[in-house]
């Protein structure tokens, strides 16, 4: 009798897929193919459809920060003349481009750069410098910031013109031609991945949430780098199925009792992931709302809508749309409070954070805290400050819970 092969947990599937995608870039480089460095929110449909391999410096920055190399690499960039005011992902990357080595993680050196500023305008300056330093082409898709809730036809036309021009340039650089049937197929798969990823994240609405919200920061890597592949779609569907199964049984992989639920606003402090997680987990606080679900889900049904979807990413959105996303998730996912990360590296995200926190608090009536941190430079975080503030938040959430329960029993 044949044995049923043991099902690989989705988390492991995603990890294996991430490693395979990253290895594919090295293999392509070794084969003599042209490979690139790519911004995290650049339309991956182009590179996936053309089978062009790219690495992601932002992901590298997060990983290097998480593995303890952030300060060393940032300091090297600062010795090169870069201000410590600049995004730590970019500082780590400048250091890597100079040293060509990094003990925590390495990515192959690029033959071209794919830049998209829907995540921030600093991307443009970062990639300009790389292009000059490495003497390689820089392809830009400029996505103007939205001050209205929807992306108008003029923006779509502008983005589309650049999208098409990028394809032309990549064809010249790599010698690979775009197959538009394949592009359509990649778009369909990307929809499947995006919807599955959203379905997985949506499980945070259950009480208890079937997983620790900090898992989102690990699992989202494939949403960023591989959502155009069938393997990613399958892995995310498996993840969503697992979470839904756990939710049906009232189980969770969150360690301990989930006493309180919070929205976590901002990028993770990758250089202090364990501390930021532990301070919450030890107090029974689970992260059940984060913008990283919609951040890497691009929903569209045709090319024009694809262009608009890339303009509607959280960092490019209008403030009002951004606030609505948070409010919607806070209600749906039944949060008891919110933690706002004032990220020293990210002026794009931190510039409205105080106003976002204020309006979130006013509209929901929920307690909120802010804390100072950084995505991958460990020097900008104070464990004492974070712990104190989380403690205060926990006390307020506890008092609110008691009051609510007293009110219900009255």
């Amino acid at each position: 009798m044949s044995e049923t092969p043991e099902k690989i947990p989705a988390k492991l599937l995603l990890r294996q897929l991430q490693e395979r995608i990253e290895q594919d870039v090295w293999d392509a480089k070794k084969r003599g193919e042209k490979i690139g460095w790519c911004a995290s929110n650049f339309p991956q449909e182009i590179t996936t459809a053309m089978d062009i391999k790219v690495a992601f410096p932002e992901n590298m920055g997060a990983a290097v920060g998480a593995k303890g190399g952030g300060q060393r690499m940032c300091e090297h960039a600062e010795d090169m003349g870069y201000s410590n005011d600049l995004c730590s992902y970019s500082r780590i990357n400048f250091a890597y481009a100079d040293l060509k080595t990094c003990e925590e993680l390495e990515i192959p050196m690029p033959d071209f750069l794919l830049c998209c500023n829907n995540i921030c305008n600093c991307m443009i300056k970062w990639y300009e410098n790389l292009a000059l330093e490495l003497d390689i082409p820089l392809l830009l898709i400029d996505i103007p910031h939205l001050d209205e809730k929807e992306c108008d036809a003029d923006r779509v036309a502008y983005i589309r013109a650049q999208f098409d021009d990028c394809i032309r340039q990549l064809e010249e650089i790599t010698g690979k031609k775009m197959d538009y049937d394949r592009l359509r197929s990649v778009m369909e798969v990307s929809q499947r991945s995006s919807k599955a990823w959203l379905r997985a994240i949506d499980c945070m609405k259950y009480t208890p949430s079937p997983f620790s919200g900090f898992d989102v920061f690990n699992n989202m890597a494939v949403a960023c780098i591989g959502r155009g592949t069938a393997e990613a779609a399958e892995a995310f569907e498996a993840l969503a199925d697992e979470y839904e199964a756990l939710a049906r049984e009232g189980k969770s992989s969150f360690k301990g009792e989930e006493k309180y639920r919070v929205l976590f606003e901002g990028i993770a402090c990758f250089a202090h992931l364990r501390e930021t997680y532990k301070a919450l987990q030890q107090r029974g606080i689970n992260l059940t709302a984060t913008i990283y679900g919609p951040a890497f889900s691009f929903l569209y049904s045709n090319l024009d809508e694809l262009m608009a979807a890339y303009a509607l990413v959280p960092n490019c959105n209008s403030f009002e749309r951004d606030l609505e996303l948070r409010l919607h998730d806070a209600v749906k996912n039944k949060v008891d409070g919110a933690v706002f990360h004032v990220n020293r590296s990210c002026k794009n995200w931190s510039g409205n954070l105080y106003e976002l926190e204020r309006q979130f608090r006013e509209r929901t009536g929920l307690p909120t805290i802010t804390f100072d941190g950084d995505q991958s430079d460990p020097r900008c975080f104070s464990a004492a400050q974070y712990d104190t503030r989380v403690e205060a938040l926990a006390e307020i959430m506890a008092a609110n819970k008691s009051a609510k329960e007293a009110g219900e029993h009255a």
Partner: protein, 375 residues
């Protein structure tokens, strides 16, 4: 004809007290529109009969703005917001805020919610990709911005009025560029502070009036005999270089500013608006042609190449980079542009400044040391 000193004093009086200028203009019944950097379509506000009023921050301490911005944002944004929150800019009918950098993205929202009920925001979000499609997109944006400005002005604007405004601004750009060149040729007559004040005054005046005033200064400078300059000749670069203390340090060290690549000063003036049948098209085309500023898409770092050329053409002894604290675009540009200057054998000093600075001793030491090395 008034003497040079009197004309320079008139500029300084305007530059030193923009609040008084705003009060006068509004009292005369003219609306004023605040204009943040960079490259906002001032001509459209001008064509609508409003005075574009430059907002480049102020030397003041911030307090209320701390509710909106964390500490690590540039003082240009923080102090402008501070003035708005204090009510010092309530006389403005609106404010144009361009989304040129990540800080200004935050500024647009913070102003909207902090001050916007009194002074509404006109968002200016131009496309940056000059290689592809930005012109068409920017033309659409200009039309959108024009409609908003017409709403604030309470009237429609005819294309001829825009064309006339463009002519005023092109004239002013040319006059200011000529002034910068003449001031560089006559540092014995125009101190760094006076030079800065002449250019700065234009942000608070009707540009036609400013052109007339600066034109008189230019005429006098053009007639002045050449005098050998025994001091140092520097080119400045950066966002803002108008801090009185810094300018005094330059004067004390007998340093002449012989040319500049400063966003607040000559950068914008180097690119006139082409004259086209549809004046908005000319304005869109101008956006494609702008160079020399860190907020522009600049894949080959033309900014650096232009700076090297400026320094060489002006026979400068070096470059003074007036580094705006917490300015990401400038901080990114510094490393590659500095390399270009080093390669060209042009010495460079970077001095970090902030509009909340009260102590310039560090800057003074740095400039004195630099000057000693160059001599």
């Amino acid at each position: 004809m008034p003497e040079l000193k009197e004309l320079l004093s008139r500029c300084a009086a305007v530059a030193d007290d923009p609040a008084a200028q705003l009060k006068t203009v509004v009292a005369q019944g003219r609306r004023a529109i605040g204009v943040l950097p960079y490259f906002c379509p001032e001509e459209l506000a001008y064509a609508a009969g409003m005075l574009p009023f430059g907002l480049w921050g102020a030397q003041t301490q911030i307090s209320q703005a701390k509710r909106y911005f964390p500490a690590f944002y540039c003082s240009l944004a923080q102090t402008t917001l501070e003035m708005g929150l204090r009510g010092e800019l309530d006389a403005l009918s609106g404010i144009m805020i361009p989304i040129s950098c990540d800080t200004l993205k935050g500024m647009a929202v913070n102003w909207k919610y902090g001050v916007g009920e009194k002074v509404p925001v006109v968002n200016v979000c131009f496309g940056l990709n000059r290689r592809v499609g930005a012109e068409a997109y920017n033309l659409a944006q200009l039309r959108r911005i024009l409609r908003q400005l017409e709403g604030l002005a309470g009237r429609n604007v005819a294309p001829e009025e825009i064309a006339a405004a463009i002519a005023v601004y092109n004239e002013n750009r040319a006059v200011c560029l000529r002034f910068a060149a003449l001031a560089g040729a006559h540092p014995e007559l125009v101190t760094p502070a006076a030079r800065s004040a002449v250019l700065k005054a234009g942000y608070f005046m009707d540009r036609a009036e400013h052109s007339a005033l600066v034109g008189q200064i230019n005429d006098l400078l053009a007639l002045a005999p050449e005098q050998p300059w025994k001091g140092l000749r520097l080119v400045t670069t950066g966002i803002l270089a108008d801090m009185p203390e810094l300018l005094k340090i330059l004067e004390d060290n007998r340093i002449a500013v012989v040319a500049d690549q400063v966003a607040h000063e000559s950068v914008s003036n180097r690119t006139p608006t082409p004259v086209t049948d549809d004046p908005l098209l000319g304005m869109a085309q101008r956006l494609d042609r702008l160079e020399g500023c860190s907020v522009l898409f600049d894949p080959g770092k033309q900014r650096g190449r232009e700076l090297v050329r400026l320094a060489q053409d002006a026979h400068a002894d070096g470059v003074l980079w007036v580094m705006a604290k917490f300015c990401d675009p400038e901080e990114y540009d510094f490393v590659p542009v500095r390399r270009m200057l080093d390669k060209a054998g042009i010495p460079v000093l970077s001095v970090e400044v902030d509009q909340q600075m009260v102590n310039f001793e560090q800057a003074r030491s740095a400039v004195e040391t630099f000057a000693d090395i160059l001599r």
